[in-house]
Amino acid sequence: MNLDDSISIVRTEGAVPDGPLIGKYLSRDKFERSLPLGPALADFAFAYDLAGTPQLGWWADWRQPFLGDIHQRPDLDTLTLIRPGVASCIVDFVGVDGTPLPVCPRSVLRSVVERLATNGFTAKAACEVEGMAFTESYAEAKAKGFKDLTPLGVAHPLAYLTHDSYRMRPLLDEVMRRLDLMGISWEAWSAEAAPGQFEINLPATDPVSAADATVRVRNVCREVAVDLGMSVTFMAKPTDSYGSGMHIHHSLLRDASPAFYDATSPDGRTKLMRNWIGGLIATMPAAHSFLTPTINSFRRMVGFAAAPLVVSWGEDNKSTALRVISRSEKLSRVEHRLGAGDLNPYLGLAAILSGGIVGIEQAIEPPDELRALAWGLPDRFPYLPTTITGAADALDRDKAFADVMGPVMVEHWVNTRRWEWMMYHTTGGDPEAESVTDWELERYFELM
C-alpha cells in the first residue's frame, strides 16, 4: 500500500533473534523523513535477553563499543493498515551505513533465499501457527503466575472440535477480521488438541513473506487478546497438555514450476528433492537449535505427543521430523515438523532452507525412509539433542550449515542459547523440573 492521506501514524516493527517484535510508533512526517534508513534505536536491543538482562561474554563486529545506534529500514512493500489512521511496516535492521545487521533474522532469511536463488531455485513456504488462549487477561494471568488459567474453549484434549472452536470465536473471528483488513491471507483455523489451543493455517508464499505473515498473525492474536481481556501465548509448552508446534511446509520451484515432483520416478521424487531431504536430515541436529529455541521448547519433545524426537523422514508420516509428500505435483512438498511454537519464523525458515541448500550443494542422498512410528524407538535411532545446550553444541559443530545460514548469526545464536541455559540455572529455574516451571512462565508467556 502507499501512505494515503488517512494514515497519520506508522508503527515500525522487526523481529529480534529471540522472536519478539520491536519498533516505534512514528508520526507520518517522522516516518517519511526517516526514509530510506528508517528510525534509529540502540544496538543494545539485540544484546539483552528476554528478562532484559544484558547478554555479556562475547562480541562481534556488528556491535558498537559505546552503545551506538542501529536503524530499522522499512520494507515499504509490507506497509499495511492495522487500524484506522495507523499503518504497520516491517523492517530490516541495518547499521548506520545501511549495511544489514548480520544478526537481523529477516536479513538472514533474505540472504539464505538469495543463496537458494544462486542455485537456480525459489521456495514457497507456509507456517502453521499454534497458540493457546485463556480467558484471563494478561494482568490476571500474571497475577496467577500464568498457572491454573482457564482455557478458552473446551477443557479436554480433543482436536478439531467445532463446538470447541465455537467457544473460541470471540477471539479468532476478530483475529481473522483484522487479518482481512491488513490484507494477510489465511486459509483456516481450528481448535487443537490441548485445552485452549488453536491453529491458524496460512497459504504458501515466498519465505520472507511467509515469515512476515507469521509474526503478524501472532501479534494480531496478542492484540485481540488484549482488547478482549484475554491472553494468548505461543510458548511451546505453557501447560502440561500437548505443546504447540510450528510445522513448516515448503517446496522448491525452478522457473516457477514445482521442482520436487517427478512423475517418471517410482517414488515421485526428483533427485533435487532427495538431495533436499538429505540436507535437511544431515543438518537437523544443527537446525534443531533454531527450531527449538528456548528452555521451554524442549518440554514439547515428548514421545507420542506429536513432536518428533529422532532425525527421520517418511512419506506422509506425521511422527517423523520430516513428513514428505510426493503423491502429486500439486501436493509435492516437505512438512518440517520439528519446529516449536515459540520459534522465530525468520530463523526457523532460514535454518530449514540452509539445511536443504547444503543438501543440494553437496548432493547428499538421504538415509532410508523410516517406515515406522518415530516414537518409543530404541537407542540405535539418531535421537535429537534434548537440551538447549546440547542443541547449541550440535549447531556449533556444523560448519557447512553455518556457512549457508551465516556464521555471525550462528555464533551469536550459540552464545545466546548458552546464555539462556545459564540464566535458567542461576536465576531461579529448576534443573530437576519435569514440567513447565515458574521461571519459564515468567520469562516466556507474554513475549512468545
Binding site: L56, G57, W58, W59, R63, Q64, P65, F66, L67, T387, T389, G390, M422, H425, T426, T427, G428, G429, D430, P431, E432, A433
Partner: protein
Amino acid sequence: MIIETAPDSPPIVLGTAARLKRSAAQPSLCGRLRKMNGVLALKSSVDKQSVTVRFDSGHIKLASGVAKDADLVITINFNDPGAKPKVRGALKHPMFALAASKVLEPPTGTWQEEAAAFWSFAANWPRMPKSMLVVCTDDHAEARFGESGTPDVELHGTAKQLVSVFSGDSIVTEDWLAGKLHGVTNLEHASVLTGRSIAWVMGQGR
C-alpha cells in the same frame, strides 16, 4: 585425583568442581581430598540450585541435585558469601564435615597472584583486551598485564574484592554493576572479559 562432572552439568556443578580443582592444586588439601569418603550435598537457600559431591578416595563425582544418601547437606545463600550456612549431618559425620569445609574454601593467593593467574588463562582468547591495569584501592598498588601503553581495561577494587574476582569466586561484571569494583573500559572489552570470567568461575583452565 579425578574430579568428574557429567556432560551438560549446570553452573553450580561446574563451579563446585572448579573449587575442588583449586583445592586439589594445593598440596595440603590434595592429600585431604584423596582421603575423603562420603556424600556431600550443597543446596541454595534462595533458588533451586543444588549439587551432590561423591568423594571416594580421590575419585570425586559431581552431579546436579541433592542425593537421598547425602551424609552432609549444606544449605547456603550463594549470593551472600557472609550468610551463615545451615548444615545437616555434621554431628554424625564431624570429620567429613570439617574436611568438606576446607576443600570447598580453597586458599587464595595475593590479589596480584590471582590476577596473574587469571590473565594467563584469559589473555589469548579472541577479542580479549590486550592490556589490563589492576589497582588495589586499599593501598593504590598497581599491577599491569599485557601490552604497554594505555590499558584496554582498568579495574579498581579492594584487595579482598580483587581476590574474589580473579580467583574465580565472582564474575567481573556482576561485581562492577554491583559497585564492588570500578572500571574504565568499553563494552567490547567488558563483554569479552566477562565471558572469560564466567569460564574461569566454571572451571575452564583449571
